[in-house]
Structures are given as structure tokens and as C-alpha cells.
Symmetry: C2
């Protein structure tokens, strides 16, 4: 019982900060998305692809990358001339709201349309923490096997979009796309699924349009 | 400070149970390995391959599979006629020693040579918890990218073997094996690395020999 109370108070502390972030971003009409995946599902590679495309569409954005220890993801994004802040969790398995608050203070958010948070590569813990985002995106990969939505249901349940990356590998891995979608829908019936390949570029434009539409809705203040 | 004390006492509780398990397995001369990987790196597929091979070599073993919610991994292993117990963590991100203790009570361990624990798919948290194993095995995949040892160093530091699975995909993914091994050695200079493909069977025999050798050492009581 003692542990339960303690967990609740840690979550309460986190959720209070998350709510402050949400209020700030609502006021500024900035959309924030929180991308969650396994290690190596391709989040950073996706950002390397979609970042320059967002820029060409005139969308003003910054990226926050989360990692236990390294700055490798931020270095890759910075190399493309995109605005990025690295969060190091010091070994912790997820990004929390306090870390995002600190990261947002490093960004000149006035005039931004979008903040993209790339969480620590972990399909379990990041889904448990509200960081003040408008929506989570579950980022899956065909290399991981089709049953992952059943095994990691919270991230699927909490997300507004599921991206299935690495469709270019479908010929070489045992991945049943129909079963994967069935698993996703079993947990979150209305969840939109977009299949992409960061290698071939397939599907990236669809995710871009999805994000653009969410930015538009946020600007119209109906989110 | 309060949280730190609490974390320490949770770990102390865990470590006490882990020590009891270690004492029991030492007395019975049973080797226990703890396999840790990302979701979808291929742990269960590996067990489907290596399990029947262990059986043919006369090694008496049981498998404990860990998952947040499902019994999918145990079902796959049970279908091969192998002895398996499923641990469900109820959403928690790792297996702890108390869960392993309960699982061991479901196994007739007398006469066993080996217990293989397949941890929850997560490269961060499982590495932090001693479950009474003789050794951890870091189980990586070429589909995840070569830099994962740098990004998830604890599991590499804590392991006695690194397995790199899915070498059959090397032609189709951007994975620099030399860089991956360099990253591994940077964190754990002496760590043995075995490259395998559960699809083609390449390298599985080497892991089998590695395990057999560790069983032999355990029996000789010099571990």
C-alpha cells in the first residue's frame, strides 16, 4: 500500500508538470507529439526523412530527442540543420514531464507550429508517462514481429496513430501485416495505421499530412 | 532523498530473493541464464531453435518466459514439447527475482542442468534487476542498428555474452557489424560476441556450445 501511494505521488508530480506544459502549448497553439518505439525501430531515421519535408512545407518545428546516455540522435538531426534538443535520462527508461519542461526552455517556442518528442527506445515505460503531449504515436517495425501490439498494449491504447516502419523488409522477415493490424485494432479499434519505409520513402508523405492536419486542428483550437 | 532510500529498499528486497535463488541453484548445480533484448529481437525464435538442440544433446532444461501480459512466447515453446513457465508482469517492464522464485516453484528443478529465462522485451530496465542468474546474455539484432550498445550500455556491461541475431538481414539493413562490435568492446572489452541467424541457423551451434561449456563449469562448481 505504501508503494502504491508513493507511485501515485510521483505520477501526480509528473502530471502536474505535464498539465502546465499542455496549458503553455495550448496558449501558443503548438502541437506536441510523443513518438514511442522499441530500440532501433527507426524513429531517428524517420525524423531525418520527415524533418526536411516539414521544413519545405513551411512548418516551424523543433525536435526533442530522448536517450539514456548518448547524444547520437540529436547529432544526426542537427547535421541536417534542424533545431534539436537532446534529453539524457541518465539511464532512466523514459522521458518524464520535468525533462520535457527543461528541454522546452532551450527552444524558442514562440512562432513554432510543432514540437516532436522522440522518446527513449522502449515499448513499455514511456507509454506510462504523460509529458504534456497532444498525442502519442506508436512507432512499430516489421522486423519486430507482428504480435508486438498484443505484448505492449498500453502504447497502442494510448496512441492516436500507429506507424509501421520498414515495410521494405517485408520480403525478408516473417511479418503478417494483416495480423498486426488485427492486433492493433483489438486494443484500439479506431487507431489509424500508416505503413512506411524510411529507406524507400513510402508512406512518409502520409504521416506528414497526418501531422499537418493535426497542427491545423490545434491552431483552430478544437483539439 | 526519500525516493532514493525507497529504491534501495526495493532493490535490497529483490537482491535478497535473488541471492536465495543463486544459493539454491548453486546447491543443485543448475546454470541459469537471463536473456535480455529489445522487443522483437528474436529471443523466442532463438529458443524455438536452440531448445530442441539442447534436448538432443541430453541437456535437461526448462524455460521461463517473461511478458507484460500475454502467454504467446510460452505457447510457442510449449508447442515444441519443451518445459516452459510463463511469467506475466502485469505491465511491469522487467522480471524481478520474486517472479522467478514463483516460476521456479512450478518447475521440477531436481535433475535439471539449465534454466533459461527470457526477460520482457526491453533493453533498459531488465538489466537493472538481479534475478539470481549466473549470467545475462545481451541479445541484439541487426535490424535495430549498430549503435544500440552505446545507447543501452548497462545490459552490455552486465552480460557475459552478446548475441547478434538476424545476420541474414545484413544485405537489406544498414548495420555496420565492425562498428557494433567496437561499441560492445568499448563498454565491455572482454565480452564474447556470437553472430547468429535464427532463420538460417547460422551460429546457433556456437551459442549452444557456449551454454554447454558454462553448464560444465557450473557442475564443476567453479562458477
Amino acid at each position: 500500500m505504501a508503494f502504491k501511494v508513493i507511485k501515485e505521488s510521483i505520477l501526480k508530480y509528473n502530471d502536474d508538470i505535464a498539465e502546465n506544459i499542455r496549458t503553455l502549448l495550448k496558449e501558443k497553439k503548438i502541437l506536441m507529439v510523443n513518438i514511442i518505439s522499441s530500440p532501433g525501430a527507426g524513429k531517428t531515421t524517420f525524423l531525418e526523412k520527415v524533418g526536411p519535408m516539414l521544413g519545405r512545407k513551411g512548418i516551424r518545428f523543433a525536435i526533442i530527442t530522448g536517450d539514456c546516455f548518448t547524444s547520437r540522435d540529436a547529432e544526426r538531426i542537427d547535421a541536417l540543420g534542424l533545431e534539436v534538443v537532446q534529453i539524457n535520462t541518465g539511464g532512466a527508461c523514459h522521458i518524464d514531464a520535468a525533462l520535457v519542461k527543461n528541454a522546452l526552455e532551450e527552444i524558442n517556442i514562440s512562432g513554432k507550429d510543432l514540437i516532436i518528442v522522440e522518446n527513449v527506445g522502449n515499448l513499455v515505460c514511456p507509454a506510462e508517462f504523460d509529458i504534456g503531449e497532444d498525442m502519442k504515436i506508436a512507432f512499430l517495425s516489421t522486423a519486430e514481429g507482428a504480435d508486438k501490439p498484443l505484448k505492449y498494449p498500453l502504447v497502442i491504447k494510448e496512441s492516436k496513430l500507429a506507424v509501421v516502419n520498414k515495410v521494405d523488409l517485408l520480403k525478408y522477415v516473417d511479418f503478417d501485416m494483416d495480423f498486426s493490424e488485427k492486433c492493433i485494432r483489438q486494443i484500439n479499434p479506431g487507431l489509424e495505421v500508416i505503413k512506411i519505409s524510411c529507406k524507400s520513402g513510402e508512406g512518409i508523405e502520409r504521416v506528414l499530412e497526418w501531422i499537418k492536419n493535426k497542427i491545423k486542428i490545434k491552431k483552430e483550437n478544437v483539439l
